[in-house]
């Protein structure tokens, strides 16, 4: 990790802006009273796990902005060297035979897809297998691939693939072929290696908790807009408001054996802690000059993620879902646009990380619960088995995992056979990227071959 002053610089800028924004519009309690720097950022504490130092910033008006910056810096000191894994779920079952379309070397393709096949001559060459080509809408991803930053899994899955969305995504989420698994594989990673009071260690960017992050013991966070995590309190302001919001988080603290109350209290407690953590981020963020994201929630979330990492927030694993891939009908109408958004957003995210010199800290894993059936159903495709997956980043090895198994021989349900297993990829991500033993996290970890994923 090269060291550079720009992280510190942008963090300071971020703080200043946050203080300015948060201070706007506060009621003038006493006329003539100077606006305390950092007002509106006053929260209970900012805890640095690296040093075990709990830096109180409650009443930051008296501590001043310097102490506050130190608190963030202390947390960032550890965060700035930690590797981050981003899990991106293309929900609905993304059609791998569009993303990486077979060429005429696979004559069964055009036969199975009379209306949906990518016409011959179109597409971007795929260097590791000339019988495949990138769909033109994935030009962004193809560009990163050309730079050696994408490991492609052309047919990833598991044997006897389940064709239910909910069952198959569940297997991927819990990291085992077990309908009764309860916790996400990244949640289990956090249960093993996370901490009790940092919800940001597992962050779902979106409106819903991503089940991959569901942890048994430690808190995780869900945020749709990380720079917009304020709490509106009609008829309450000033010091009473600060204490009220602290009291709200405290309502989650008492232990209870009641199932429903326990859920509610844990969530309220995590909300209170997250409010502390995101306080410095409430003023918004900027994206480096020259980096342009496409429109849409997915891109916005990636851009916020890059800024949060740059701001030193203590993230470890992040999950984002992007839906719309269940293309039973009108596949030609919707899929290319969705792929374009994904490919362009992932390229912009990589460029953003590179501009911030964060590119060696982040690895992105893209997956879907299954691929789709080779034979089209009229205007769409039904649920299939093996699909495509990607590992993206400057530290990605950029080497294909498994081969494309072809369409001449399909599985018993006429679906694509797999040439790599998602559990082996999980083990490799845990061991090669996060540097931990996969054994306690992935059931039967020793039985899966690990592809080389990291440079």
């Amino acid at each position: 990790m090269p060291s550079c002053g720009c992280n510190d610089y942008s963090r300071t800028q971020l703080l200043r802006r946050a203080a300015a924004e948060a201070g706007r519009g506060l009621p003038a309690i006493e006329p003539g009273m100077p606006m305390p720097a950092g007002t509106g950022l006053t929260r209970r504490s900012f805890v640095s796990r690296a040093t075990g130092l709990a830096l109180s910033v409650y009443g930051a008006a008296s501590l001043g902005p310097k102490a506050f910056e130190e608190g963030i810096a202390a947390a960032a000191a550890q965060a700035s060297s930690e590797r981050v894994l981003v899990s991106i779920f293309l929900s609905g079952g993304a059609d791998s035979l569009t993303m990486l379309a077979p060429t005429s070397a696979h004559p069964q393709y055009a036969a199975a897809r009379p209306t949906l096949a990518l016409p011959g001559g179109q597409g971007i060459p795929f260097a590791e297998d000339s019988s495949l080509r990138w769909h033109p809408s994935l030009a962004g991803l193809a560009e990163l691939y050309g730079e050696g930053k994408v490991s492609v899994m052309p047919a990833i899955g598991y044997d006897d693939a389940n064709q239910s969305h909910f069952t198959s995504r569940h297997y991927w989420e819990v990291g085992e072929v077990n309908p009764f698994g309860r916790w996400g594989w990244l949640g289990r990673y956090l249960d093993e290696h996370g901490v009790a009071d940092n919800p940001l260690q597992g962050l779902a960017l979106g409106w819903d908790l991503q089940p991959v992050l569901a942890a048994r013991d430690v808190p995780v966070a869900t945020v749709a807009e990380p720079d917009n995590y304020g709490f509106w309190t009609p008829g309450v302001w000033g010091t009473v408001q600060d204490k009220m919001l602290d009291a709200f988080g405290d309502l989650g603290d008492p232990p209870t054996s009641d199932v429903g109350l326990s859920q509610a209290r844990s969530a309220v407690a995590a909300t209170g802690r997250l409010r502390d953590q995101l306080a410095p981020f409430q003023g918004g963020y900027t994206t480096p000059a020259g980096v342009t994201y496409p429109a849409g929630d997915f891109a916005t979330r990636l851009s916020a993620l890059a800024a949060m990492l740059d701001g030193g927030l203590p993230l470890k694993v992040v999950a984002i879902e992007s839906g719309g891939y269940d293309t039973h009908s009108n596949q030609a109408g919707s899929l290319p646009a969705d792929l374009l958004e994904i490919g362009d957003s992932l390229r912009a995210f990589q460029r953003d990380l590179e501009a911030r010199l964060l590119q060696d800290r982040v690895l992105v894993h893209v997956w879907s619960e299954f691929g789709r059936r080779p034979e089209e159903n009229g205007s769409g495709t039904d649920h299939g088995a093996a699909g495509a997956g990607f590992v993206i980043g400057s530290q990605a090895r950029g080497e294909m995992v498994g081969e494309f198994p072809g369409l001449a021989t399909l599985d018993e349900d006429d679906n694509l056979r797999n040439s790599s297993d998602f559990r082996g990829v999980y083990c490799a991500l845990l061991e090669q990227w996060l540097g931990v033993d996969a054994g306690p996290i992935i059931p039967n970890a020793s039985s899966f071959a690990r592809p080389a994923l990291v440079a």
Binding site: S91, N162, Q163, S164, H165, F166, T167, P179, P199, A204, G206, W207, D208, L209, P211, A214, V220, A221, T222, V223, A224, N228, F231, W232, T233, P234, G235, V236, G238, T239, V240, Q241, M244, A247, F248, L251, G252, P254, T256, D258, V259, G260, L261, Q263, A264, R265, A267, V268, A270, T271, L274, D297, G323, H328, S329, N377, G378, S379, G380, H383
Partner: protein
Amino acid sequence: MKKKKHRRPARPAPVQPAPPPPQGPPSGVKLDSPIAIYSGGFGVREAERLLWRAGFGPSPGHAQVLASMGLHAAVAALTRPSGPPTLTGADPTDEDGNPIAPADFWGHDHLWFLDRMVRTDQPLVERMTLVWHDWFATSNDSVGQQQLMLDQNELFRRHALGSFDQLVHDVTQDPAMIVWLNLDQNSRWSPNENYARELMELFTLGADRGAYTEQDVRQLARALTGFEFDWSDELGMHNFRYVEASHDPDDKTVFGQTGAWTWEQGVAMCVRHPMHPSFFVQKLWSYFIPTPPTQADRQALEALYVSSGYQVRPVLEAILLHPDLHAGSRMVKPPVVLLAGLLRALQRSVDGEYWIWYSENAGQRLFYPPDVSGWDDSRWLDTSTVRGRFELVSRALSGRVLDGDAVDGYDTTETPEQGVAAARAWAGDPALTSETVALLTSFAAAALAGAGGWQLSTYRGLRQNALRHLILASPDYQTS
């Protein structure tokens, strides 16, 4: 779908008259159940919980009325409403007081259903309509025609407490469902498996139980062929119908039985499948009680369900009478249930489109479930939706908080305990745990720490607003 903040200045919110409490058979009625019946005291707290689980919480005074009826009559008042429902109070409007247009204006479908929950005198009928909306989760996100969604919602309401057999039959030919799960594209020439799979997996049998095979999915899809509709610029999708000529007339083998099955036979085979009753009972139970039934109770309810001819009401009554509901764990309220309950408790009407955004941020936009499996009732709460719920309370409170002289001239002698008691009374005395009361009381003390002069009254006024908010946003109030 974009979510936005919507914080226009609050107008004074008019007080909506409370609907009459649910009324069913006269008190003294005894309901039957093949499983245990709760035998502890049935007081205001128990009635409050029953109203939250089987409705949208109490309007002022309702818990007292139900408590006085006794358990059996209270349950019967919910499960056996007589005649059509009555809606009490002001019709829903947008912010400017205009009537809503549920079929035409974006989001007014949500307001329409929410308003039914708030104003009805038959809360369980609306609650079961919500259950079916979740069970047969259909999203306007791909249907794209609100009138079809509203028609489906009325279908759920008609069948709220009736025959599940008939419900599945009617849902299968419901236009919104036909569009949603591509039944119109499931023709004899190119079968589309979408509906066949979800009919078995999510609506009647359940996945991973060995109830059906991939072959059954494909064969049942063939039995379900033949639905079509027309489209025009003027009418959109219309003329939904079954066309014999598009139906696959050949033999299909479903669950090991071979015949030239029609769509109606295919649907009936799912409901008559030996593994359907256990699926039905567990799923219905899970909407009302957070812990699963014992195997003996489940089997007794399965027998009741089958012997009743697949009726919902008898099973539901047994669930609502069961000790696990009245004396067991608390349960997280779905976001729209919380919202409808807040509006009932605070006697507010549905008076603006802002409720669409607030509901969505709390995790539940009606007519837009996340996918065909519905909302995940085990994961309503996370750091995003808890904030959404907090702000939902903010909005419900705006226009109802103390301000001006009521704050600046607040009683300077009020103790922390008195402040908490006043806020509890204002909120309708909802059930709070002793831990929460203790934390509220410490906050009430801390809020005045170091205060002097003008702050002694003003801070007490702010504290009262804060306490009301904290009670309604508390973990206790998010559960029942």
